[in-house]
Subunit: 914 residues, 2 copies
């Protein structure tokens, strides 16, 4: 047996072998080595600078060190000779072009060093300005600018930024010195400090550097530059950047480019200034020049909010020519890029310089508005417009928002933005209290249900609540999933909130809120806000949205259905354009207050007869439910899943019973309740499972208790025939859950056919229907060909398929998911976006085998992923017929499906039927 | 959207389209239409009768209706015209050959109707004798045999058997009549009843039939035959047969043949008789003519135990010629079949008839003995001998047995034969009591630990117990798995046993046993026996076993390792020929009494520092464990799995804490224990998981708490270097559990390499090692190519892989598995034998991809399946390098692997390296 230890270090595997790479790209003097398309190499900012330079716009010259250098830096924790010498060559070129030397001579070259990744990460990366200044060159600058104060202010800014970003010294240390000097001089504004004051500050800053970095501030300009470059590389992995990437699904492997650019100064006096802007309003999309600026300031002042900037139309009054030039340039840029531009500019001594341009981020509402306007302006075509809106942003148009314009916004805690929108109400701590407190009719009060975590037993409380707050659970916890389904605001997993159900209060630090206190939730950001804010309503019938959806629809190949359990949700889903119900969960009907006693009687039954008696009571209720859903979906298919959850979910909790019994044994040992509880506990113990997710549920219930399936199937077909006789077109699709074997499908399928035939005979009418299964277990994928001989449709239950493929419990993943994402082991929550590599591979296998077993097997998805754009695209690629998602996700799914279809058309690929 | 209801009934899919089948095969007059190889069609009995007929042996003629007819009967609940007419033709042929008519004339033909499936199912199927008798033919028989008593006795037997088997009337009804008549006549023995008595009984029997079957006993012989035939078909699905098939892994789809054969009578007087025998002793394998017989009796009397039969050597005295003829015939049969024969014979009026011959069932001990003897006798070759022992039977040679020869065996209850062997001891109800009660040293007492179910916390009690009895849990419950690993007797899931831990007693019906009462367990059959039986010890160094294993070894391609956590198990495993340890579970070491406090301190730690301090205390203990294991496995690889179970397994149970707290709140609200428990509960709640199997465990622990992996890896390498310096050859293989992604493997692999390098540097010595992973999640199979770039070996964890592939929780499957097996949805427990279709498909995928990622990746299996012969064969087929199983399964696995290798050689297939 041969045993060889691994000799290669892990990193080597990842190291590409590249030689002769161009690491540094110059721009300036009217032309650039790069261009706007090279975002992979130059980052967004660098590509923009190159493109603007090539377009002849006034851009301070410089060079970009490309992202591969950053990736090498991350792998080797250093910069190669090759990169360094390419940088020196570019610097020399820049010095020649400018006729200056970096930090030397009477007219020293100063540069800015900025990060710039492929995807914009605003405020996430660090920047250093005025690099090249030292004890000597600051004097030259003072002389050359004839502005001593400006020169020393620039120098102290450099030391401060460099100290913080490169040498990792807390900003606070510098602020203390700066504020101390202001205090000492008895002034309020920074601008009131004199050149002498600033020199004193510089002296103290240097001491701060020496004390905290254990070295002097570097006086050699080239050393400053090299250190700044490396710091930008390192900043790729600072915490802010990592968090931003995680939230925005940006790969950790990309790295950032470094832009080194000749400084221009907005703080050279009253004819200098700096500003940022958008070519259109990024909040509402209005076609208006939008931005703000500050005279005699550097960009950092605008971004950091130290001074309050002025609306950009003021510039028109102050410097009309510059304003006109800026409008002309940005308007050209918008036309060039054919999208809204987010730009930065600086005015130095009355001369305008463009420092950055990029496609502007915008709200969902603005995205839709702008896309439509640009089509009307013939800037883009409708088929391009549909790509200008992130399908996830559609949500923005459908949910209310907190009105933060009035009053004080006191953020108590932050949780996960589990279900977007806003909710304002009085807090309650149990589902029953929610129902009692909320009341009904005209006197109905808005309540916020606050729970440690919610369970299916809380459904009635969640239904009446305006919003839900939980202290535990993730983006796919029960609360999150159910509220998203309801289109109801939810903040989940707010760890700082301590929920005390007994005392009916919640505590956050020193703040305690009691039942009835007002709370405002922002489900879009995850904020928990004390008190009662107002809300701004949503506009579901937005005409812009209709226009955009109208353009997108012809490209869509995938059908889009909704997951809906009750008529109200079904009606909502149709309003959003759902073409059927892809998942109607029959068990949700059983949690209703008037039904759970019968459900419990069914479970506690000792004989088949007793069980059937309890089921007989449930039958008319289920039938009525289905009638309502069928009517709502007239003409569209309705996929009804037979009972899925383990039966113990319908009984009181085991540990609560145990505690009750222990108490009663001490306090009231003759209580009839004790006897009853003991009996109940016996049954609960019998049903207790270590891993309920993998337990006695799904079709396993229907197989061991066929009478349950029989009742449900009977309710479905009685409802179908009844409603069909009213003239409604009913298309039921019966779905068997959790099938892993052909024989399970055959067993339940034969019940469906037998009971259907019975009902048709009794009622002397028939209804066409399909029988199929959820594909939600890996084994089902491996034998999908056999299963398809019995199943007329498959619906991928990707929630459970993800659970079993990874071996991740959705309920428990919160214990390690944050750690996994932080360490880059997972890029995102696999319950939010389909893991195409693993889960997706099994899905593809099931699709291929399924079609082998039955060429026309209908294929859909009804897991939470059905409403996630990336997952919708994957479903399109593997050739599903439809996706199904929560009603409030239908528009998102429709747009995502249309984008996938349109992409195919661009690639010249063929279509498929829904 | 097209909607088509399923039109085909489910059964049609399964119906083969066959025409022109020969359903009936005749034998008699020296030749048969069938032969001994046609067991699929004729069943074992029918094939044997055909073979014996062809060999010229004295066999009563008749015909066999083949198994396809039974399968058709099961599908259509009826017999086709074709089958019926083929049967009538065969009957006519038989009548002609015998010169008799069925149940007609002065010399009526009487026949027996017996079942006969492909695999012998002794006592499981029903038989009808004397068919053809009716109110008329009984008179002819009386006249012809000149024995009125014999004729009426035969008739009443027919009515009784027919009534019971065909008409489903309880035997009890007939017994009541029969015993009533004996009582009335004041006789004790059946034989004391006269012909008149029997006629009276017949009259009453007919009334019983009329009353309970609602029809008369059929007088038309051909109607009797058709009804009997159908009853045999139906008997295939009686409960006994189904249970037998389930236990013996026989497919429910095979069906049984029906043998119709001219009657010969062993009860025609004192020169008639009947008997059964074996050509060798089936209990110990001794080469001796073995059997028993009864004169003047029918076969049913022998089988039913109504009269006590006589050892066969008595026959030599009573009828020497018949005895010699029988010995000659059976000896010919043994030579012909080249295996021990289990035969039935009847002597009618001094003439010998052979009624059946088949390969005899034997104990494991006998199987080995006989195989060796037959090689020595040159009947078979060594390479055939190794197939003569079912690998599962090896176990028989390794475990003690109950000595049932003395005293009264009172079976209290039956459970699952979870871990074979015998155990006799005094009962205790908690692990702590087991330890206390058992004591140590010379005064050590044998105890039986009785639990509802066991958990990892019971390990210390299980270790000291002689045997384990649980009232819940299946063949793969914790108790079952752990005891099989220990080679310790266990009866699991004895549902009739009510365990009252509080009162320290167990109840079975009216019987109550208290702590200290004696109990005997038979883990081989699952019997729970009251009182104190003796035991017969095992002989692990059996010379026969060594001979057989010696023959088998050259054929074995698969390596065989053992799963062992402690040196004692490792030594045991080596004694059985294990070639390494395939799974050393480090967590089992943590449950020891002196370690669990440190483990708990580690879990309860609030900071990394606290956690490291606790781990530092565990380090020397783990190192010592590994040193012991390495020493025991000198020269062989040891695969050590890093910590796998979720941390809450090491803490008190949540619900118990909750109950304790509730009680203390009432009774002693100032107790410091209350405060402590509340704190503990807080942490337990934090760690609580809904589905622990899919929770924070495996490599997820090592990733979130890298210090745990670091401690374990350090302990391994310190131990390896230390022991290596002693001159021991150490080959550690570090196994990362529950990997589903490349990055998980890379993360933990880098810890292993880093810590190994540290230790090697510190100790100035190196040890060659491998780093690999368990493949136990479907996702790992789908990305095995990527994982293999980091993992040097894969070990299939088929327990968890089966759990996740099927979505079955091993702990909870007992809730529906019996129902699944009863309904034929599952053929056997997928945790016992690998599901080759689903789980196996993923394994094959992992093997292929794994080799793609790393051509020499070492492949093994360490799930429970590694000791199951069918699974071992599958592992051989898909090309694994080794299997690993519990020490007491090593011989089984070795033999199974050799059989797989030898089968390959027979097919001319190539080999592979271990």
């Amino acid at each position: 047996m041969s045993v060889t230890p691994l000799s290669k270090p892990e990193t080597e595997i990842l190291t590409p072998k590249k030689r002769g790479i161009q690491y540094v790209f110059f721009f300036g003097g009217g032309k650039a080595e790069g261009n706007g398309k090279m975002k992979d190499e130059l980052g967004g900012k660098g590509a923009g600078l190159a493109e603007m330079t090539n377009a002849g716009l006034p851009v301070p010259p410089g060079f970009t060190i490309q992202t591969e250098a950053c990736r090498e830096y991350m792998r080797t924790s250093g910069v190669s000779e090759e990169i360094h010498s390419q940088m020196l060559a570019a610097l020399e070129h820049l010095e020649k072009l400018q006729g200056q030397k970096l930090g030397k001579g009477e007219n020293p070259l100063l540069v800015s060093v900025r990060s710039g990744a492929k995807f914009s990460m605003p405020g996430m990366m660090d920047t250093i300005l005025n690099l090249g200044l030292n004890d000597e060159s600051v004097k030259s600058l003072a002389r050359k600018s004839s502005n001593e104060r400006f020169a020393y202010d620039s120098y102290r800014r450099l030391i401060q930024m460099f100290g913080n970003v490169v040498l990792d010294i807390s900003k606070h240390e510098f602020d203390e010195v700066f504020d101390g000097q202001k205090k000492k001089r008895g002034v309020k504004l920074d601008t009131e400090l004199t050149a002498e004051d600033l020199q004193e500050i510089i002296a103290q800053y240097k001491q701060v550097v020496r004390k905290h970095a254990g070295r002097d501030f570097p006086q050699v300009p080239i050393e400053q530059l090299a250190m700044a470059r490396d710091a930008v590389f390192r900043s790729w992995n600072n915490d802010r950047a990592k968090v931003y990437r995680r939230i925005n699904n940006i790969s950790d492997d990309l790295g950032t480019a470094v832009n080194v650019q000749a400084m221009v100064f907005g703080n050279m006096g009253e004819t200098s200034g700096t500003g940022v802007g958008f070519t259109r309003n990024p909040a509402n999309g209005a076609k208006e020049f939008y931005g703000e600026f500050l005279m005699n300031a550097q960009g950092e002042d605008v971004v950091a909010g130290i001074r309050t900037p002025v609306p950009i139309n003021e510039l028109q009054k102050q410097m009309p020519q510059v304003y006109d030039q800026l409008r002309e340039i940005t308007s050209r840029l918008e036309k060039h890029y054919r999208d809204v531009q987010d730009f930065e500019f600086t005015i130095q001594d009355g001369k305008l310089y463009m420092l950055q341009t990029r496609n502007g981020k915008r709200t969902g509402r603005a995205a839709v508005r702008i896309a439509i306007d640009m089509v009307n302006e013939r800037l883009i075509k409708p088929e391009e417009a549909i790509f200008r809106v992130d399908p996830n942003q559609i949500y923005d148009l459908l949910v209310p928002k907190l009105d933060e314009s009035k009053g004080n916004v006191e953020v108590l805690a932050r949780g996960l933005p589990a279900s977007p929108g806003a909710a304002v109400g009085q807090i309650v701590f149990t589902a029953n209290d929610a129902v009692a407190f909320a009341g009904t009719g005209a006197s109905k009060k808005p309540v916020i249900l606050v729970r440690g975590e919610t369970t299916p037993e809380d459904i009635h409380g969640m239904e009446v609540a305006a919003g839900i707050l939980t202290s535990r659970g993730g983006m796919t916890s029960h609360a999150a999933v159910v509220t998203r389904g309801m289109g109801k605001c939810c903040v989940a997993g707010a760890g700082d909130v301590e929920v005390d159900e007994k005392k009916k209060e919640m505590r956050v630090g020193a703040v305690t809120l009691k039942e009835g206190d007002w709370l405002s939730l922002d489900g879009t950001t995850g904020r928990v806000i004390k008190g009662r804010l107002g809300t701004v309503p949503a506009s579901p019938d937005d005409p812009d949205l209709k226009t955009l959806m109208g353009w997108s629809e012809p490209f869509r190949k995938l059908g889009v259905r909704a997951n809906a359990d009750i008529p109200r949700d079904a009606i909502q889903a149709r309003a959003f354009g759902a073409e059927g119900i892809g998942l109607c969960r029959t068990e949700h009907m059983f949690f209703a207050e008037d039904r759970i006693p019968h459900m419990q009687a069914m479970i506690l039954a000792r004989t088949v007869e007793e069980r059937k008696a309890a089921l007989d009571k449930l039958l008319p209720m289920q039938r009525a439910d289905f009638e309502g859903v069928f009517r709502a979906m007239d003409g569209f298919p309705v996929t009804i899943r037979l009972l899925d959850p383990p039966l113990h979910e319908f009984l009181p909790r085991r540990e609560e019973l145990m505690v009750d019994i222990a108490k009663l044994e001490i306090q009231d040992s003759n209580s009839p309740k004790l006897k009853k509880n003991r009996e109940l506990l016996r049954r609960v113990e019998e049903l207790h499972e270590i891993n309920p997710m993998l337990g006695h549920r799904g079709c396993r219930l229907g197989i061991t208790y066929p009478e349950i399936s029989e009742m449900q199937v009977r309710a479905i077909f009685e409802a179908a025939v009844n409603v069909s006789k009213e003239g409604v077109k009913v298309i039921p699709e019966i779905m068997i859950p959790l099938v892993s074997m052909f024989k399970e499908m055959a067993n339940q399928g034969s019940i469906v056919r037998r009971v259907a035939a019975q009902v048709f005979k009794e009622k002397d009418a028939t209804v066409a229907y399909l029988t199929g299964t959820m594909i939600e277990l890996p084994r089902a994928c491996t034998v999908a060909d056999e299963i398809a001989t019995e199943a007329e449709f498959f619906s991928f239950g990707t929630n459970d398929l993800t659970q079993t493929t990874y071996g991740f419990s959705r309920d428990d993943i919160g214990k390690f998911l944050p750690s996994y994402i932080e360490r880059g082991i997972l890029k995102h929550d696999p319950f939010a976006t389909i893991d195409t590599e693993g889960v997706g591979q099994l899905m593809k296998m099931a699709v291929e085998k399924g079609r082998k077993g039955r060429s026309n097997v209908k294929l859909g998805i009804c897991g939470e992923h059905g409403g996630d754009p990336a997952s919708v695209e994957f479903c399109h690629q593997i050739g599903l017929n439809y996706v199904s998602c929560s009603p409030f996700r239908v528009l998102t799914a429709r747009l995502a499906a249309a984008q996938a279809g349109a992409s195919d058309q661009l690639k010249g690929e063929g279509g498929r039927t829904k």
